[in-house]
Subunit: 286 residues, 2 copies
């Protein structure tokens, strides 16, 4: 089957509805394009679990604040389609902003909970409202049974899970592990902003997390000391400017002093002017 | 088939999902219970258009502000079920508030548009956020293909339509005409609050609207004069205290001076301590 490309929500939804009427299950992989190997792991997970895979490619304006990188976010739809076709994706949904947010649009999905108020939410106040709104729309448009998100945006996964649970969306959310380069750098479309020296410096993110993870495996349970280990390693990289390092329960994102349940150790770091995020999940014994 | 009763969202959703998997279409009639003949016209419209009819009976706390009538709103679930069974409704969804809004709940559907800011929205600031949230949840829980709402809450229909459109919910919204008593009084669960003299006085609502409608049919197009006709008639009833009388486009709810497109002439009036609403739709030639 040739890969379908839809730009109008109504047409995407009509096609998806026909697929469901034929008894097929639908897996959705929401992306902002500029696809890399990390996205491909989402597609493969979706393909394994669903009859039909729909990838969305949409740089969603409502999750960017003024001054963030909405305008310069990399867009390369043709290359994206080639990659998706090679993975056997069935359909791509690639709407214009005006088709997603037509004149008169005024309904937002507003998650107002621990999951949205800390970490990225504290830095980017409207970000998760935009994410929750567009993900709800995409799930409805594609009639998804399952949706696949990367662990790199772990907080996004927590917010989406909260939103799916709170609104009873009939969708199962799957988190796919972070995909890393050999250097340890988490794959991200924003890595394209990095100059060569910055790309090398950026490996400090995963290195610092690995250091804490090793200590955790060796028995360290103090949140303060685990965070300090990360900060220590980050301090050794002159090109890095720390935005935050935080350790919280996952997916509830509550503060902890001792890691006794599953936790997220997450960070945001500027390398030059590029803001990168990374994280590791520490699996606490209950 | 014996009418099913579900109280847990997960069980309602699983049953609805099985119905859909069997190729059946689902019609949803959301209600707050205390069912009257008006609700039955929704059930009949749903039955005509769908294979399966699900009625929800849920007095939704999030659409009541403190001081409104959440606590005293009439509840009579057993009688409601008898009425629904007689109409051939297939399933009733009757959750506890804690099942709809469990601990940790934090995601609201927030319509922020003309449809929510005027008329009822101006008087009841959180009302339509509560309505949009619960209706989205109910649509998802029941996997509805169609949902049926009464014209008496015409603004609610406009808000739900906006919400369905904005979030791409795969549901068709149908508005069912107002069901009136012989006296002209629009049927409402809140009519139960009226003492006999008040019930008689309450007929002034429909009488005043009919007066304006007659003038409209005879050619009157001035919004100001149509509203004045209603106010004049209401002023003749000593037990009536006007909250608002308004004429706006429908469903956009924009202000108008001349009725040239489809408009809503709506009012809210206190009869004693009971607040009643009523409306008429004026079909303008385009």
């Amino acid at each position: 089957m040739k890969m379908k490309i839809f730009t109008m929500p109504e047409e995407m939804q009509a096609w998806a509805t026909a697929q469901k009427a034929a008894g097929r299950t639908i897996g959705l992989c929401p992306t902002m394009g500029a696809l890399h190997e990390g996205h491909m792991t989402l597609m493969r997970a979706a393909k394994e679990a669903s009859d039909i895979v729909i990838a969305s490619v949409f740089v969603n304006p409502t999750q960017f604040a003024p001054g963030e990188d909405y305008e310069k976010y990399p867009r390369q739809f043709r290359e994206d389609c080639e990659k998706l076709a090679r993975e056997g994706v069935d359909a791509v949904f690639h709407p214009e902003p005006a088709a997603m947010y037509p004149a008169g649009f005024g309904t937002y999905v507003t998650p107002d909970c621990a999951e949205t108020q800390v970490l990225e939410g504290a830095r980017r106040p409207i970000h998760f409202r935009g994410v929750a709104t567009v993900v709800t729309k995409l799930m409805n448009i594609t009639r998804a049974d399952r949706a696949f998100f990367g662990q790199k945006d772990a907080q996004q996964v927590a917010v989406v899970r909260r939103c799916v649970e709170d609104l009873n969306l009939p969708v199962q959310v799957t988190m796919v592990p972070i995909c890393r380069e050999e250097s340890g750098l988490a794959r991200s479309s924003r890595n394209a902003y990095l100059r060569p020296a910055e790309r090398k410096a950026a490996t400090v993110l995963s290195r610092s997390l690995r250091k804490a993870e090793t200590a955790f495996t060796a028995g360290e349970r103090s949140a303060e000391r685990l965070v300090a280990l990360v900060q220590e390693e980050l301090a050794g990289e002159p090109l890095a400017r720390v935005d935050y390092v935080a350790l919280r329960t996952f997916p509830g994102l509550q503060p902890v002093t001792e890691v006794r349940e599953t936790c997220l150790l997450a960070l945001a770091v500027f390398i030059g002017t590029t803001r990168l995020i990374d994280n590791v999940i520490l699996e606490g014994e209950a």
